[in-house]
């Protein structure tokens, strides 16, 4: 039999229902794997092993009852262990956002996306590492130490959802929740050889997600195949009265079991994403994958997204501007530590000066500058106008093609410390993922190869708003005839 930790979510759901395995066995297998591998991976900020076993035991009782009565349990993910990025609140559990300023913050409520999965019966193994307040591309900005890439522990797992990516890649679990504001699901998924979905802005509720860039933030999932992502998406997507920016557009349930033909699907190749400076192996693997999609019936067209190069400066003005406002709430009054009680001004400044890490302070400074009197029009105002042009580029492209295919990042997972002293070089990591956030469109990444160091290479597909179904169907079709998504790091394969 396949090892329990190698099971994907859908397979585990089926086996749990048939009584071939129990949630206790599955959860214990996860905890054993964590015990073995976590010392070198460090995917977690907070492990909730005890609660997980209690949830698993409860799930087993429900599963048993359902079997005895000859009915399937109603909850569609009953007994499945998952991990949650530590920027999403789970009631009663510490939520640090990777920041020392929230070191002792116990969430008083649960994020809607997490609640929907809890309602579907999941078992939460713990809260995973992230760059502080999701600001980063490597987890090196976490206040709790970096996570390591299971494919090579000397390399970063990507970020900011690097903890969830490392956990799914290292076979702690088959499903991880992440968030994507500028590529924070897609880039770590790509670096760790996973499938990762950034949804249309507003498709999944942000209630209970600690805000970073409110007009860009999205909640999504990382897994090892399209089917598991579809399962989680179907549960999490939809309108939430607690999030005024969540979309009222009805959710088309994604069913990958239905026949789907790539024949006639028009895929656009944006020339601005195939540029010098991209690792040649990445370029090659992405082009090979596109050729395979073409051989399966897709029609390939060159398209142009002329304002691609502007996405980086636009993002690094808009996101920090929004962050500087969102992070004003961390002031030493309502939560977190308070550095001094001397007077109000000192309390604010000392608490924030000592509680935030270098990158967070850098972005707050940048955002405050971009919004300050005298600079607002030139920086923030102009960035918002160019954002309109970037969005229009995509709208024009999607008039002639159904999907756009591109690399996820300029390189495979880089080494620790490579960009740490040069913030601009680190920001360039996000050059291919930022545009989708600025335009509010969905993006999906999945593995399409390895470089010579056996580090995973991902491709990114982007679609028009609410095209998550088409993205996942295309990925599923690709995964039916390839096995990149089935490869696993040797480190995850302890006896």
């Amino acid at each position: 039999m396949e090892k329990l930790t190698d099971l994907n979510t859908q397979a585990a759901v089926a086996m749990l229902r048939k009584g071939e395995i129990t949630s206790m066995e599955l959860t214990q297998a996860s905890l054993d794997q964590i015990e073995r591998v976590e010392p070198v991976i460090h995917a977690f900020i907070t492990l909730t092993a005890e609660q997980a076993l209690i949830q698993a035991a409860a799930a087993d009782i429900q599963l048993q009852t359902a079997r005895k009565n000859g009915t399937n349990p109603v909850a569609s993910m009953l007994g499945i262990p998952i991990v949650v990025k530590d920027v999403l609140c789970l009631k009663g559990v510490r939520c640090t956002c990777g920041s020392r300023i929230l070191d002792n913050f116990i969430a008083p409520y649960t994020a809607s996306a997490v609640q929907k999965l809890l309602d579907a019966g999941v078992v939460v193994l713990g809260k995973t590492n992230t760059d502080e307040f999701a600001m980063g591309s490597s987890t090196e900005n976490s206040g709790y130490g970096s996570s390591h890439n299971p494919w090579n522990v000397n390399h970063v797992p990507g970020g900011s959802s690097g903890g969830s990516a490392a956990a799914v890649s290292a076979r702690y679990t088959s499903l991880g929740l992440g968030t994507d504001t500028g590529g924070s699901i897609r880039q770590p998924a790509s670096f760790c050889g996973l499938t990762g979905l950034k949804v249309t802005y507003g498709r999944i509720s942000r209630y209970g997600l600690v805000a970073y860039g409110s007009s860009l933030d999205t909640v999504g999932a990382l897994a090892r195949n399209a089917g598991d992502i579809a399962l989680a998406f179907n549960l999490m997507a939809g309108y939430d009265p607690l999030d005024a920016t969540s979309s009222r557009q009805p959710v088309d349930e994604i069913n990958l079991g239905l026949p789907f033909e790539l024949k006639g699907l028009k895929i656009g190749i944006p020339k601005e994403y195939f540029i010098t400076g991209v690792q040649e192996e990445v370029n090659q693997a992405v082009r090979t994958a596109i050729a395979l999609l073409e051989s399966m019936g897709a029609r390939i067209h060159e398209v142009s997204l002329p304002h691609t190069a502007e996405a980086l400066p636009v993002y690094y003005l808009i996101a920090p501007a929004e962050a500087s406002a969102n992070l004003a709430r961390f002031d030493g009054v309502r939560f977190g530590p308070r550095a001094t009680d001397d007077n109000m001004a000192a309390m604010y400044k000392k608490t924030r000066g000592t509680g935030f890490g270098t990158e967070v302070k850098r972005r707050i400074m940048l955002g405050t500058y971009a919004l300050s009197a005298g600079y607002y029009d030139a920086y923030y105002g102009q960035a918002q106008k160019v954002r309109t042009l970037i969005k229009r580029d995509f709208e024009a492209a999607f008039e002639s093609v159904d999907l756009i295919a591109a690399p996820v990042a300029p390189s495979t997972a880089f080494r620790f410390g490579e960009h740490i002293n040069d913030p601009l070089a680190m920001y360039l990591e996000d050059v291919f993922t930022l545009p989708a956030n600025l335009a509010g469109i969905p993006g999906l990444t999945f593995p399409v190869g390895f470089d010579q160091n056996k580090l995973p290479i991902g491709i990114q597909l982007m679609g028009a708003p609410f095209s998550e179904g088409l993205l996942l169907k295309t990925c599923h079709a690709y995964q039916q005839i390839t096995n990149f998504h089935l490869q696993k790091p040797t480190l995850a394969d302890h006896p």
Binding site: Y316, R334, R338, M365, V386, K391, P423, L424
Partner: protein
């Protein structure tokens, strides 16, 4: 155009961040580099282009004003650094 230490200090003050001299020097250089890079946006012609502050259609979301029970007060006060008689306790605003 490089930022001067005084500008960085002013921004830090606006952002309510206490920075030490090492940080001020670091951010002078780094923020200048990032802003120089961002200056390329000035070259884009945005005449007549409206700003995008959200990708959502600009619709006001309304709902019935129905009172509901708020989450437990003690759970919220428990995570505050200082409380007194069911309130947040803060230092004096005026010296």
């Amino acid at each position: 155009m490089p930022l001067t230490p005084d500008v960085v200090r002013k921004i830090a003050d606006l952002a309510r961040l206490e920075l030490n001299e090492v940080e001020i020097e670091l951010y002078c250089g780094q923020l200048s580099a990032i802003l120089d890079y961002a200056a390329r946006l000035q070259a884009i012609d945005t005449t007549g282009i409206p700003p995008t502050s959200s990708v959502l259609p600009p619709v006001s979301i309304l709902r019935e004003d129905v009172p509901t029970k708020f989450m437990a007060r003690e759970d919220i006060l428990k995570i505050a650094p200082r409380t007194e008689k069911g309130h947040y306790r803060v230092p004096p605003i005026l010296d």
